[in-house]
Amino acid sequence: MDKVMSDKKVIALYVLPALLIILTLVYSPIVMTGYYGLMKWDGIGEMEFVGLANYTRLLSDSMFWQSVYHSFLLALFSVISLAAYLLVALILAGKIKGANVLRKIYLIPMLLSSVAIAQLWLRIYHPTNGVINSLLTFLGVEDIPLWLADPNIVLFAIFIAILWQYAGFYILIYYAALKNIPESLIEAARIDGATPWQIAYKIKIPLISNVIKVTIVLAVVGSLKYFDLIYVMTNGGPNGASEVMASYMYKQAFRSFDFGYGSAIGFFLLLICLVITWLIRKLTASKEEIQY
């Protein structure tokens, strides 16, 4: 058994093709990004080596740190909302009538491209005839919020759109994981008189804990490098109130022709993700060992 399962040739055959693709198409850009980060470069003409100058500039760039803060807030929100996604998945995966149809309907929005989602939420938040403000006006609320134009609200308004955008993705993963649990285990517990909440909490969730850990990493990393909706809906504004790391990087590299600085931000973002992922894996490592 062990001999078969540690056949070097088989391992190489299974891992190398994917590794090769990753190394050429993901790692070479990473290395180049690190390299450009040490340069003063507009992305067009000659480069000039400036050492760590871009990074020292990064440290004192308050606009950048504001975007870091926003990105971390988004990461926090995403992780918290995982609980809600899990709850929906638990209900859908339970034995209720029509679960199959409901599940499909719930996941439909995730099929929309971010272009469509951004347009949708722009209509929802429109200051005069948007869905929310029409409703508020109808209800006679005075002092209706301006959503995307208000620097105090804009970030949270966008977060809600992002959380909604990703709901389908995580519900789908949780659903598939829950459906993967052998029915016999749940049946046994039920015969022992366990309530549905006990079954969920004591059996289902522990059994899919590996999947949950993975989704935490995905949510955090995905949030830290998030770009799409923010760029279309507010372009980071008003005046940086909804700027995140990736949108700031993009602006520096492609709009301000400061590719060197943009690359330094990109590389720094990678480092932050690495550290955070390592931390998450350390914090959640304990149970994984038992599985082996």
Binding site: L122, H126, G237
Partner: protein
Amino acid sequence: MIRKKYSLIFALTMVFLLVVTGCSSPNTASSGNEQADDAEIVTINFMHLWPAGSSRQQNMIVNEIIEEYQDANPHVRIVQEVLENEQYKNKLQIISASNELPDVGMTWPAGFMEPYVKGNRFTPLDDILHGGVKELFVAGTTEAYAVDGKTYAFPLELNIVPLYYNKAIFAEYNLEVPTDFEAFKHVVQTLVDNKVAPIALGNKDRWTGSLWYMYLADRLGGPEVLTNAINRTGTFEDESLVKAAEEVQNLVDMNAFVRGYNGLSNDEGKSEFLNEQAAMYLMGSWELPNFTTNDEIPQEFRDNVGYFKFPTVDGGKGDIDSWVGGPGVGLFVAENSPVKEEAKQFVKFFVERWGDQAVARAGVTPATTVDTSVLELPQLYIDVLNDLGKASNITLFADVQMRAAVAETHLNMIQSLFGKQVSPEDYAKKHEEALAAEGN
């Protein structure tokens, strides 16, 4: 079990087939091109931003010019690549990094093109400019594409920014076209009192708000003050530049702009004017088709649109015939193009053909001189073109004048100014800092 196996094998074969065909088809295509090259056919790659869908007229004219040129020069083949504005800018920069620019492409003047010129990516066009092309252009327009005395692109459009207004709304409240700023404020106040939004503005795009600031700066401090601050012969902390910022905030305090303007895109802001929700709209002459020929917009509304020149300020140094505006996209030829001479000839041909066609059919106000007496144009066009001819000055859009990084600061500051998150003094100070940092 057996069926599973077969379906798997089938799936795998499909993958390989697709990969193999995916690999091989482009190769055969490219070898076909090489054969064509042997027959001495010159291919000019041309990248532009007028897709057939959204810019149908422009796209049609481009295709006709290309066809005409290919007919006259049978050895030349012109291949187009079309990208939308934003994607176009990105791709231009990415391919520049590998020095793979198309032979002919589009650029914006001043701040945008500077890195390309400095990186030696564009080739000077002075030889054709002085070979009979310069005379075609409105005086002073090619200068926006000049760096260190050499011209690197030819403009295709020249816009000014009129203040459009809805005549019906003005008539309803007995308002007259204001010629000075006090009268203008009175108009704004009257409209506010009658619960009509005075001004449509989508300031998420930021350059839209910049137009208001630029005009106020011009009317208060004269045509040179902003330009001088940007080219560092002056300062941004000039009294009139701070005052202009104050006036912007005064307008904000009067509720002159539509609700939520800082979160609206230009398209959304504009629609408030088009739907007669707002009475005025400050925007470039590229909007003229919407007020004249665009059938999607009700005739009734189009007939109601007029424009006036931005009012002067009492005691200010600017005069009413000074405009904000300037050339937009222009054509460049790549420095490392293997067919540079042919590309230059094509560009020359293009700008010669473009002007009259563009204004008559696509509603583009071209950078070449237009004889309004010959062409049949809507009255609004004739008025704008005549005013353009009488302009005492045209100040190039601030974000275009500035280098990219400073422009970013300017645009952010504009949004803060309109959102009242920055005082006029700090607004000027931030600009001064950014400009000073770029200076060295």
